[in-house]
């Protein structure tokens, strides 16, 4: 069995190694970072479906830091390391053209990955906080990596809001520690389940969940995201939208709500309606954008609204849909952001009105953007359709027909703003299209196409993950979520010997 600690130690160690030797050997950051991500991806695939608990330094459960690998964290590990790998391959040539210092880039990149892996593996709320800070601080730096005015402003805003979130989370942890005397998640769950939701625990919970809502960028906590995700280098936008928001926000909320505090009716309703509000309002905002990356950024808020919506419904089928949607979003959103990076790489433009007719010059990029856009809009037979279908079925079965109608309206909105992007950039032309510049465009180099083609292929075949339902790919994580706190307590403490 693989020691889960390797998921944290390997990228962290490599980050330092890259910082040490990157100056001497110019090619080493590319090579080492991609090698690390490749290994991590393979390891995460091997670990999937297994469960283990590892106490760092073999301290006893009451004071030691446990690393818990269960179905849910296994799924998250696969998502993190796969998308990280894809983005790392893309970065090799993309970063070369626009940005300087590769060794700093890859160092921060690997630290982010280490932080994210740490979050999903920690069974201890304070180490979750520590890893959260690790991931967040490296991503603040990555957002401002271009050092232009816009990037720095976005990074600054991101920093301020992220710090507010961290403050809320830390405050929540302190209150929780005061109320329960524990930092271990399973032990906290034990206390909460036996004592019930007392007032201090409620206050702690509100602060925790507000902090994580900021990280997950749900409306009205969302306002940092459009700036940050659109100003970052595209390979980093792919990481941010594809995994950082999901792990630092949604994963933590799922863990807290379903495995520690238990989902009450009120909490479910909050998730449901925050999801719906995000779907609709962010959808309308995305419709109004003229910057390709800002459109995608708002779309992230809107699409993750579906995950919250499904979590709020709370039936096993809905949880299944939520996991599926989360997974699918981790496929097509990085695909779209990487493609926006390819477009930027060739044209140097982010404003859709200035682009046009790229399908003649960049066939792979435009076809894969088409696939990604159709998937995210829930057009069959692509993967996004299946997850939305499951969520809608779950909503109607739970007799939430009104909310289901809003979710469908959100889906039509999604289609409309994506087809706007498709029209202006790829299949038609924008208002300020420049014919002269257009003639010199070519398809991006092959190394940048590998991740794009892989992700597009996964969008096409993504529907197969639905096969076998609860016994299939998403079976374990769904069981871990719906079995609730008692199961989590048992699985953490039961297996310690």
């Amino acid at each position: 069995m693989i020691n889960p600690f390797v998921f944290i130690a390997l990228p962290m160690g490599m980050a330092f190694l890259i910082a040490l030797i990157g100056h001497q050997y110019k090619k080493s950051p590319d090579f080492l970072a991609n090698l690390t991500m490749g290994i991590l991806f393979i390891l995460s695939a091997i670990c999937y479906g297994k469960s283990t608990i590892y106490y760092i330094g073999n301290w006893s459960p009451s004071i030691g830091i446990p690393l818990v690998l269960d179905g849910l964290s296994g799924l998250m590990l696969i998502i993190i390391n796969f998308i990280g790998f894809m983005s790392a391959i893309f970065s090799i040539q993309y970063i070369e053209k626009f940005y300087t210092s590769k060794l700093r880039y890859y160092g921060l990149f690997l630290l982010t990955i280490a932080g994210l892996n740490g979050i999903v593996l920690s069974g201890d709320i304070f180490s979750i906080y520590v890893f959260l800070e690790l991931a967040s601080i490296s991503s603040y730096a990555l957002v401002g990596f271009g050092c232009g005015a816009e990037e720095l402003e976005a990074a600054f805003k991101y920093l301020i809001m992220g710090t507010i979130a961290s403050f809320f989370i830390l405050l929540g942890i302190a209150l929780l520690y005061g109320a329960t005397g524990n930092l271990n998640l399973a032990a906290i769950a034990n206390v909460v389940q036996s004592q019930g939701f007392s007032d201090p625990i409620k206050i702690a919970f509100i602060f925790l969940i507000s902090g994580f809502f900021i990280k997950a960028a749900s409306i009205p906590f969302h306002s940092w995201l459009p700036d940050a995700h659109s100003s970052a280098p595209s390979s980093i936008s792919a990481i941010l939208s594809g995994i950082v928001v999901k792990i630092t926000g949604i994963y933590c909320i799922i863990r807290l709500v379903y495995n520690v505090f238990g989902a009450t009716v009120l909490i479910s309703h909050i998730l449901l309606y925050i999801g719906l509000i995000s779907i609709i309002l962010a959808g309308i905002m995305a419709f109004m954008q003229t910057n390709i990356k800002r459109t995608f950024a708002y779309s992230t808020i809107s699409q993750l609204g579906y995950v919250f919506f499904a979590l709020g419904i709370g039936t096993p089928l809905a949880i299944f849909g939520a996991m599926f949607q989360l997974f699918n979003h981790a496929i097509f959103k990085p695909l779209l952001f990487l493609n926006s990076g390819s477009v930027d790489y060739q044209t140097g433009e982010k404003v859709i009105n200035k682009m046009g007719k790229l399908n003649e010059k960049m066939p792979v990029t435009s076809t894969s953007t088409l696939i990604g856009s159709l998937s995210i809009s829930g057009i069959p037979p692509f993967n996004g359709f299946w997850s939305k279908l499951i969520i809608i079925i779950a909503a109607v079965q739970a007799n939430l027909i009104g909310p289901a109608i809003w979710a469908i309206i959100g889906s039509i909105l999604t289609l409309s703003y994506y087809s706007k992007v498709l029209k202006c950039c790829f299949f038609g032309k924008g208002a300020q299209f420049n014919e002269e510049k257009w003639k010199s465009f070519r398809e991006v180099p092959g190394l940048m196409l590998i991740p794009v083609i892989t992700l597009a292929f996964m969008c096409i075949i993504g529907g197969i993950f639905i096969i076998h339902g609860y016994n299939g790919f998403f079976g374990r994580p769904v069981k871990d979520i719906i079995n609730g706190p008692l199961w989590y307590i048992q699985s953490v403490f039961g297996s310690y010997k």
Binding site: I164, I214, P220, W224, I270, I284, I379, L415, S416, S419
Partner: protein
């Protein structure tokens, strides 16, 4: 049976993918593959039709697919029109390099449509149906008009958006019937949930078929999409599939509800009138045809909505006929456009001399669509009127719909007079043009002959294709006895003969034939009035003038209405997302306070 249907779906699908990957130099290979596949599928469809009909007439269900007389009929239609369009395209696509991917898309579309009509599992149906929206988008995108991308986007949003509604409707179906299979569904249409589900499915069917008010993508793509794509989608395939879905949900899946019937009939007759009025003032022949493609749907909807056996037969027969003559008309328009390089009626004229075959096949199709006997359009309209009259005994509101249908029919004839006059008659405004190549003429001629045959020998298609469909549903085989068709035909034929006699005998004696003149001068082409100015008076009457003006500004276009609503809310939201950090933090605090209130306050 599953295996053979999987085969029907898989073969064109694989061939389509193959065509997408064949590069330019081997273009003839694409043509050969698609021609072979479409001929093969057509033969299979005939085979399936004959074979299973002999063994079993009632529908039966297997796991994923079902075969009943309706789906077999649809299969035959799909393969026939695909074949016709592929043959036509081989002629049309000569020297049109941008249309490289056309054959691949056509074959993929064929595969998905076959899948859609045979699907018994509702999820499978949605998958095929949604795939069609993508193919529609890609096919329209092949056009070379400057606005192509804009209108491709519009149709993707409308058709794809209706797919989302289809998903919701289907999920409600699954919820209500506790089954994934069409064949097991029979849902009473009275609860709010059922009505919501019904309207979701109905809107998907209506967007596809093009019923007011969700028809607006069809006239828009008419100018920009390539002609074979027009003949394929709005003219034939989308009508077939949209009406298929409508018939399925209205007749099979949901039980009858008279209030819903009135709503549907209302939209059906509104479609007839509005679309035909819009057609009257068009200057672009493809756009004019596309408004008729919308208008004719109203008849099918009315016929099926009457829920009488004769009306349903009329509706389905009209669906078939409309697909035939509308394809023929678009083929004719494409042939004119290909030879003259324009589709504006102002710039055309006198082509009957140069393109006689195109002219006659266009004329046949135009007579058919206008409902002139003995062409097929007359008979299907006749059935529909019969159905409406029968139903009017139960439901007096049907008198209104009959009037609307007749009014629409008259205007249809009027607008075809305009197109025939301005394109084919009058003075020639073009250099010498030749008639199109044989690849294009053959399907046009075949289709116009079928239009005539299905009229003269109307009982053959009705008995072969349509009666089994009615039979399995209502158990009626001998409804044709109740139709007083012969008297009507007699009267019309007598009227025609009298007209002919009057024409032959009167003209020779009372009038003298001279070339046209104005103010004593011979008319030269500059002075001639173009047919495009016909019916300006209608446009300028007090009642219609504002309506036409609003229509030109797209006030009636549901797409633009919804778009401006979204933009209104979007502008409000943009003010909130101001870029000022303090505002953002206020929003976060607001959220936290709301959470506190929820947990403690209430």
């Amino acid at each position: 049976m599953d295996n053979i249907i999987t085969f029907f779906i898989a073969v064109p699908f694989i061939a389509g993918l193959l065509c997408l990957f064949i590069k330019r130099p081997a273009f003839y290979l694409k043509e050969a593959i698609s021609l072979l596949i479409s001929i093969g599928m057509f033969v299979f469809a005939i085979g399936l039709f004959g074979f299973s009909l002999a063994i079993k007439t009632s529908g039966y269900a297997t796991e994923l697919f079902w075969i009943d007389s309706l789906s077999k009929f649809m299969f035959l239609c799909i393969t026939f029109f695909t074949l016709a369009i592929i043959v036509y395209s081989i002629g049309f696509m000569k020297k049109a390099p941008k249309l490289n991917q056309f054959y691949g898309y056509i074959l993929l579309t064929m595969s998905a449509s076959i899948g859609a009509v045979f699907s018994n599992n509702i999820i499978l149906f949605i998958v095929f149906w949604g795939f069609l929206a993508i193919m529609l988008y890609l096919l329209i995108g092949l056009g070379e008009h400057p606005d192509t991308a804009e209108f491709a986007k519009k149709s993707l949003i409308m058709v794809g958006g209706s797919d989302s509604l289809l998903i919701l409707g289907s999920v409600i179906l699954i919820f209500l019937s506790k089954s994934f299979f069409f064949s097991e569904m029979k849902i009473p249409l009275f609860s709010t949930t059922a009505i919501l589900g019904f309207f979701c499915l109905l809107s998907a069917a209506f967007v596809k078929a093009g019923v007011f008010p969700v028809h607006t993508w069809i006239p828009d793509i008419a100018e920009s999409a390539p002609v074979p794509a027009l003949a394929f989608f709005p003219a034939s395939l989308d009508k077939l599939l949209g009406i298929y879905l409508f018939a399925r949900i209205y007749l099979d899946i949901f039980m009858f509800n008279p209030d819903i019937q009135i709503i549907i009939c209302f939209f059906g007759s509104l479609t007839i009138i509005i679309a035909v009025l819009m057609a009257l003032n068009q200057h672009n022949m493809k756009k004019l045809l596309s408004y008729h493609a919308v208008s004719q749907v109203g008849y099918m909807v009315l016929g099926i909505a009457s829920a009488t056996p004769i009306g349903i037969i009329g509706g389905l027969f009209h669906m078939l006929n409309n697909a035939l003559y509308k394809t023929g008309l678009f083929f004719g328009a494409g042939s004119v456009e290909k030879q003259t390089k324009t589709d504006h009626m102002d710039k055309l004229g006198g082509l009957a001399k140069y393109m006689p075959v195109t002219f006659f096949s266009f004329l046949f199709a135009a007579l058919a669509i206008s409902g002139v006997p003995p062409f097929n359009g007359f008979f299907s309209k006749w059935f529909i009127y019969q159905g409406l009259i029968t139903e009017a005994k139960n439901n007096p509101s049907f008198v209104l719909w009959i009037v609307a249908a007749m009014f629409g029919s008259a205007l249809t004839l009027a607008s075809f007079l305009k197109i025939i006059h301005s394109v084919f008659l009058g003075h020639s405004k073009q250099e010498k043009v030749k008639d199109s190549s044989l690849w294009m003429l053959v399907p046009m001629v075949v289709i116009s002959i079928i239009c005539l045959l299905f009229g003269v020998l109307w009982w053959i298609p009705v008995r072969t294709f349509l009666l089994p469909i009615i039979h399995t549903r209502l158990g009626i085989m001998t409804i044709l006895g109740g139709i007083s068709l012969n008297l009507g035909i007699m009267l019309i034929i007598i009227a025609l003969i009298i007209g002919l006699i009057l024409y032959l005998f009167m003209t020779g004696k009372t009038f003298r034939k001279v070339p046209s003149f104005i103010g004593g001068e011979q008319v030269n082409p500059d002075m001639e009035m173009s047919g495009t100015e016909f019916y300006r008076t209608i446009e300028e009457t007090d009642f219609f003038a504002p309506l036409y003006r609003f229509a030109k500004k797209k006030y009636f276009d549901i797409y633009d209405i919804v778009k401006s609503i979204i933009e209104y809310f979007g502008n409000i939201l943009k003010k909130v997302q101001s870029g000022v950090l303090n505002t953002y933090i206020t929003w976060i605090l607001f959220g936290v306070i709301v959470l506190f209130l929820l947990f403690f306050g209430v």
